[in-house]
Point group: C2
Amino acid sequence: MSNSSKPATASPEQLELTSLLAECGLKVTRPRLSVLKIFKNSTHPLSAQEVAAALPTVPALPAINGVTIYRILDSFKTSGLIREVNLRHGHLDYELIDHADHHHHIVCTKCGLTEDLYSCGVSGLIKAAIKNSRNFATVNEHSVELFGLCRKCIKL
Amino acid sequence: MSNSSKPATASPEQLELTSLLAECGLKVTRPRLSVLKIFKNSTHPLSAQEVAAALPTVPALPAINGVTIYRILDSFKTSGLIREVNLRHGHLDYELIDHADHHHHIVCTKCGLTEDLYSCGVSGLIKAAIKNSRNFATVNEHSVELFGLCRKCIKL
DNA sequence: TGCTAAATGCAAGTTAGTTGCAACAAGTAG
DNA sequence: CTACTTGTTGCAACTAACTTGCATTTAGCA
């Protein structure tokens, strides 16, 4: 039984995903590997539903439950693998945290097209906020989202 | 019947709210006046539920339906009276648009305390985004939210 | 004063996300 | 290699936020 529960050979990609999970102290399971792989291959933030839709349906394997996806997203968030972003789509989106890659988003309010922005410029604002506020002590996170129209939608 | 449907005297506040609605092309109704008044008196963004909770319960008058609140928020938003803000509370918040008063928010991720920020500093980012993006044509809106801990919560 | 379009109330439905609990499986100790 | 323990998953039911359809009412205006 060489291919009953474990693949005969593990691809380098699979190995990378596995160690990424292990490093975060998360057990390596099939659902988690699948979800992580989807994020790795995605160019934009994903909602829980998009993750669900992107899950491969292998006839031989049982489908992954919707609840499990929420719980995986939660565990990934807690362990710092992904972050929540709010793109005003009426639900939460998630994206991998690549520590070398701090960015924000620009969203088309008509079609939902999303691009990353690689400049930021709020560090001054953060400093000023802490300095001027009597109530706040620290700023750990921030979101900057631009909302506009893409070239396609502005023509409609 | 002097006090059956209309008050004998209209307060200056009532008059102001009335004309504000009229200017926006909205019919002046009791539910709308109540909701607008709540926003006028609030120092922070409000959710639909908070608006509902803040509605006065005058025994003589029928209560205002929850659905109506959503519809009022929608009409206020469409006519530019209020704006949506996303403070990661799992629902949408709304605040009056005061055109002289462009601001953003700083939110405590533990207790939800919210303050306004009166500096912004993203105009450079917006210009750069339009210039560098092949896909985007205009930026009409933006959100900047800082998330951190207030002095109370950081001690816990 | 009466008309008409807009606003409201009510009931039911939808969507996103959560909770409790039993079954299962990853990692580890023996 | 096997057995144990704890974290993970699946299922079903539930909640919160918000929406829709339709009948009724009412603001604004002729």
